[in-house]
Subunit: 329 residues, 4 copies
């Protein structure tokens, strides 16, 4: 983390932060109230009844696309040497005429114009949802599953992205940027509990148990410029996260920035305390890089959140392209 | 294709088929009724009103997951040397303690257990939707866009997967296997126009303009065994496809098999005539590898289809994890 | 291994073998005579003097290429789900005209025809050399380095391929196939100590300390057909390996087959006993997929072996394209 | 190129350069004197006799390693979105115990500690040699092969890296930095014909037909810092290249920088004129990222160059790890 911070923060700010709060020695991964085999945490709050409740209130046929595009050069977390998004072609109308990969002959390849492409990516790119195995404490993740017993060569054998069900739930936008009268929160701004409460009050929105709560910092306006998007973004503080989960009983939390939380860490001994709090202690999946600009523009603060992430077996995150449909009051 | 067929079909069957119908010399790519800049074809049938109509009839909170898992060893079209699905870890709780990729020191890495993974895949794997640039005729695709002017090094500059909107539409299951009283259609079976009509009649389901029509062959029951799933599967014939699009005005068609259509081709000069018909002539996206077993079990023939594919810029297909929600009559 | 064997061996043969010898309980990884920091084992036998000795005897300007080609569809060890060789283009003369990735304009891209490609591969493909960290015993590798302390997220921090020096040494071909009067050893044939001794005698070749010893089974003649090349190949038995290292003091051993050793294993509790013997107990690198056909054709049994593998940091193997130059007597 | 230059050069320097010389309208790709099927150009200068001549003069057993390491974070040409070097593990001693990918059971996996890794890379990374299909003019490459007829989906069908023979030739170091009394040439310095002639004179080295000529700028001292290594490096000018090939009859030219030539281009209509001159007009392969520091330190100006690049079928470049062995006078 020191390396990351050197890139994005003045050293004085970094040192200031590290004089902060020590990590509670007794912080441990959470034990699931849904039993010892639970791998999805607060996603258990979703039931046929909860889905029916939100689906019965759909306001019409307007849908909002909450996801961003994947393209070469898109933002991607690079501090630890992870793969960029790549796309390449394995068949083109021109190339198949020369290669004839299916052994059908030149006239057939000239007649049938075949295009095929492949991709590679780190799972934490574009609009995505973190699975509960993404971050843990002391070698364990949510519900006490240990790396020693459950991490194989190609991912965790528990709590993987393939366990995340399709999500149909009440969604709430907390437009912190708008609440503060700015277009975008400043670089490095750490969203507080009060910021969230004031924005909700201003919006006249209430949070309810089982919500998908999406926080808008406005950062997404820089998405097309990867360096600008990633450099020292605003994010959530620990108390903001606690407000969402413990006070408000959110099922999933998310935001429009790269990593949900603000850096540098508020804790001396944990470089991503909001992630470990949410994923490992509270069993709360996190959505990152959500596209919230249109919801903000139209002041859609309450909606049906409908999204289903790719079932990547064993993965610690998966891409998701959720939609929002406004609700009747 | 000869190479593929040798792997999967008795040669007598192959030769029989190739004595069949010659390709119509005047087959050309379609010109869009939605104008010269149209890149999404029949997806234009979807409107706020069409979405509102289906969303107003949701029957409750039961959802069906129509997608399959991604895992190492999963089925993937290999005849032309395309990449398999791969997943690998770039950070593990153990490895970061040794490597310290973020330069935070051993105690921090022992406290914070970090897991990260990456994937790579051909875009035509798992449950996915084909974009209109996937297959064309004579160097052009739907609406006359030419490879010479629009294929760059990293995909088409038109009609890419990022143009596909989130899909909310009436969905219809045509359970051809059930209609025929079998668990799974036989190897290599080519579904006919009559098969579809009889199944619809038996189900008492009507097709309507703008539907997402999903055909069940039962093949998905073999998904866990990649070789078995891919060897000589049943699929659609040309007349079946014409029935869906021209007679029934479907917006999207799909099935539970690898490639939607049956092989070997019915045309001498086109090895994938159902693909070129649907994508290039009719502007109709195709969903492949849809998981329809639970819909079939519960006899859910009509439903809201809600799905949004990944916005892979320029790609010829993208993964999608759609859900189905039953409708009230 | 059971899974592999089921693919390639009649079950009776497998069972027969597994009634064989139990693994010696006291087998442990070797301690290097070159000191506690040694990471290259028997490569320490190479010195300026040993190199000068062989280089002073070069017979002229004839060179033999001991490596195979990399191409899509080439043989690759697939039993454990490892990546195939892939190559793809990221720039083509045509595509750059459309994409203009360097922002130089269409006339410049039409004038300058740019081609660029990328590859991916498992490190144990094509002609390659295994580093000493490839196989160990009980969590340790050669010289006692432990996985617990030295395996990070991107490879071992010790004994990686980047430590392997350029190799200039006396090379010896042991043409077992020719010695037995066959073109290729039979499927599954396990080369014995006597086979090696008889071939050396027939060839009138002596082994000396520090040699690179390459065994020819003839299998390479099937290289163009990946399935045929890989199915149940002939290989070395344990006693053959012991003869090469302990009796004959080879520095490196190699062969023209996929995995050097024969399967199924001769030991009940070690599925790759020749690998663990050579790499972990004896510190002896292994060359696999060596192309020896031309040496055999010309009966070049003694030569200068000159080869330098790619310095892939932390890797357990690296591609190498060695050459052989005949020696004067 | 404008995009690249903006990153690395003051705009005034760029504009200055672009007021320079216009490209000769009659520049065309070269026709091989070795016949219409020639795909390797000046590599034809190498013969058994030329190899024997250099091998007969080896001075002893000292070898110099002319290659650099491959590691995550290494320099790689990024202006056009090409892949970085990646390495990842597919088997680890710990992970196989959990995953049991070979189905051999936990005790076996605990006994046999298996490590396997995979890599991916752009072919123009690390010490490598450019094949003649890397750059052309007007859609053609060396000897008139056209992209329209010879570029398939996975590379060129002619002039690929697999055609490059193992190289055994007289090597010459031209230490321009040392000749100028500096440790490293300044940023953006363009080496001239006179620079080469003066350095040769100072070194008392003569060039001969068929040489591998390697130019030292000193830039390699920054290799460990990718950004520093790549930012505005020194390189060759066109006249320097002409001196090496036309006046001096070099077989291969190379240097220790990223791209051999200096930027910005000396020609208005060709952004890489030294590449197109060498590869397309003259059929001269280029070695980039050669490690020359130790040769320079020991003032080894003449040596046997022995190197063999990976046989990547159809590729426009391939990694190579050459060695240098000093020659007797």
């Amino acid at each position: 983390m020191r390396r990351i911070l050197q890139r994005t923060l003045p050293i004085s700010l970094l040192l200031a932060s590290l004089t902060g709060v020590a990590d509670a020695a007794d912080r441990v991964v959470g034990t699931s109230p849904w039993g010892p085999s639970d791998e999805i945490g607060r996603l258990n709050l979703m039931t046929p009844e909860s889905r029916a409740a939100v689906l019965s209130r759909l306001a019409g046929g307007v849908t909002y696309d909450l996801s961003v595009e994947y393209f070469i050069g898109m933002p991607s977390w690079q501090a630890a040497g992870d793969p960029h998004y790549r796309m390449w072609m394995t068949h083109t109308p021109h190339g198949t005429v020369i290669d004839d990969p299916l052994n059908v002959g030149r006239p057939m390849n000239e007649r049938v114009s075949y295009t095929g492409a492949a991709i590679s990516m780190y799972t934490h790119m574009g609009t995505h949802i973190d699975a509960l195995n993404h971050f843990g404490l002391d070698g364990k993740i949510w519900n006490g599953f240990s790396a020693a017993e459950h991490v194989g060569d190609r991912g965790w054998q528990v709590a993987g992205a393939e366990k995340i069900p399709p999500i149909v739930a009440r969604g709430v936008l907390i437009d912190v940027a708008a609440s503060k009268g700015v277009n975008m929160l400043p670089d490095g701004y750490r969203v507080t509990r009060d910021d969230l409460k004031r924005a909700l009050e201003k919006q006249q929105t209430e949070l309810r148990e089982g919500d998908v709560v999406l926080i808008r910092t406005g950062r997404m306006q820089r998405y097309a410029d990867a360096d600008a998007y990633m450099a020292n973004p605003p994010g959530m503080g620990l108390e903001a996260a606690r407000f969402l989960v413990e006070d408000s009983q959110a099922m999933i939390v998310g935001a429009d920035n790269l990593s949900f939380e603000a850096f540098p860490s508020e804790l001396e001994t944990d470089y991503v305390p909001v992630h470990t709090y949410l994923l490992a202690e509270q069993g709360t999946p996190i959505i990152e890089l959500a596209y919230l600009e249109e919801l903000s523009r139209d002041e859609v603060f309450e909606f049906a959140f409908i999204g289903a992430s790719l079932k990547l077996r064993g993965a610690d995150a998966a891409p998701i392209r959720p939609i929002a449909i406004p609700l009747r009051k």
